[in-house]
Symmetry: D2
């Protein structure tokens, strides 16, 4: 029981053995009401937090009709957002952070995973097939691959580009990537060769 809970918490993002243990002690010290309430919330997650059929992000929409087959999140249904721009992100928190920056007004697609280099996908594999289908159906003018500037992110971006290539040719879609260069705070004294090369190439 103790071990099963530890095991479950270890699956939570960013949680190691020490904190998993602290969680169990924390829960053991709570009253029945708190635990029942929490368990109840867990059972209802699927009812109230839905995955958008179109962009695959999770969104909360209390009171919606669970029998209706198609759900669209508020971004996908927003007619004021540029539908010709599709930004491909890895995960929900990336999308949220981009929204917070107010720099983007197009649509999104959440891959839900990264192509790992060693073949170990921690949670789930990227939705490349769904990206292909959505692109073929909606034919945006530009698809922006917005993965992190990490090895896994670059790898995932490259793979997404390859998959989108036939559609890009057929429908003359532009497939772009976020610009590389100096991010806020970068000092020339400590800049790495890759960033320097990118910053120079993308000078303007």
């Amino acid at each position: 029981m103790f071990d099963k809970l530890i095991e479950a918490f270890l699956k939570f993002p960013g949680i190691g053995p020490r904190q998993a243990k602290r969680f169990v002690y924390f829960l053991a010290g709570q009253d029945e009401k708190f635990l029942k309430n929490l368990a109840g919330l867990f059972l209802e997650i699927k009812k109230d937090i839905k995955q958008c059929d179109s962009c695959f992000r999770f969104f909360s929409k209390p009171g919606f009709d669970a029998k209706k087959p198609a759900f669209r999140c508020e971004i996908c249904s927003d007619i004021n957002r540029e539908k010709n721009l599709l930004m491909v992100v890895e995960k929900d928190v990336d999308l949220e952070n981009i929204e917070k920056s107010r720099a983007y007004n197009g649509k999104y697609f959440v891959l839900g995973g990264m192509l790992s280099l060693n073949g170990k996908n921690r949670l789930s594999s990227p939705r490349f097939k769904e990206l292909f289908n959505k692109t073929g159906k909606e034919r945006p003018k530009e698809i922006i691959i917005a993965t992190s500037a990490t090895i896994e992110g670059e790898n995932t971006a490259r793979y997404a580009e390859k998959i989108l290539e036939p559609l890009a040719k057929k429908f003359q879609l532009k497939v772009s990537r976020l610009g590389r260069g100096l991010s806020t705070g970068t000092e020339l004294e400590f800049i790495d060769s890759e960033t320097m090369t990118n910053a120079l190439r993308n000078r303007q």
Copy 2:
């Protein structure tokens, strides 16, 4: 729903808004089975993880008879442990860490909280009354106050000593504190005045 879950996770030890949100997204992405299993574990915590009637630590004891009124953890019931020594700790993980050091072979008492300086007790208040009662009943020869060497820890220790004072006099119990001085790795170049004063006074 989303917000209620965030709110609940914010009560978990060491969890801030960003990680609470990541937890919710993580859970939203899990299948029903995982969620049901987790909710089930939460509801059973109280059945399988019990608080020791004697030292107040939490311990896992599957299959024990819930109708029996008194529970003793394996440390409190261990006749090979020195019953004349009682170590007072703040919380379960402290106790676990001390056990791991194999430095101590007496009994424990878990206060379950610290006396905060600003009057805000985050989770629960220290069990001073229970400490008093247990001491009066069991009359160990020595009580070691093993709180952290922080302001809150010192404050809690001082208060515990004061509460135990009448019993200490009446039954000639010794009340001690963990030794202060150089901890492993301390360098004289960076030592603080308080530690230097303690290290000098406790030289041997």
Copy 3:
């Protein structure tokens, strides 16, 4: 004496009171030979390390004729380097780091300082006048302002652009800045608004 040395070391880049003191104790513990040798090196710095008349970087050129009025460093005299490209950097170590990246094959100009926002220039003020003169004389086709992506760096870049503006118009020089965007390792989850805006605008 002790205090004078401390004071002198405090002027060294990145040295605070504690390390200044350690330096003095270190020197006090060295033998006469070491100290004489070090003092000798200090007196000869100006003989062997020269500042390039053209780009203002410091370079070591033992045995050159100190009476000759004009010195050019090996980069400025290298005919294999693109003379139509001039990169403006803040300081010598920035230049060295860019050279290490092998991303750039043009010429340089070392400003030797940053425009601080609070008016306190730590060591020296930027050589804007010399930049203006060199640009007017050599007329490169493009000047790349390569300051750090910090507030001071941006401020200095803006000022340099303004100063170069009349020359840029007159001789049709392009004045550019290093590209902004995702630097190596940037994760979308933690990206700041400014970098996101830049990365989106500079997508390709």
Copy 4:
């Protein structure tokens, strides 16, 4: 020249290649006056900063008679300090830090080095012989070995004790070490086994 200076700065405590280079550039950018002044200070260090004949710490005593053979620092000459207590420290900054704590009013002896485990003594070897001689001559009542709680510090302390053993027996000197235990800020949750063992043994 450039490389010789780098090499010299690399011998300074806590200085790595990057900072050594920054120092050289910094010096190259200074005027002759600054460099001459600094070189002058280096040459005078030995005149104004002296090593105490009795405790081997460095101290500044401008204007003292360099021909007088014996120098005593102000601590060694202070008749208000407890001469029966001798504290053995590794280096000058340790002594300074202890003085700052105002926890100690006895005399000192600066070893000037640590016994390294791998046989590489970075700057100089500990003055064990001088410690032996001073102890035999001055016969304090107690010698406190105040090395850091690191592996090298413990090793040096052990060796010092062994060397002092015959004198300790002969003159009935007490040889002690700084107390071990919880240093300020130590939390029980993160305490290491060695510190826990010491804190428990030294409880009071």
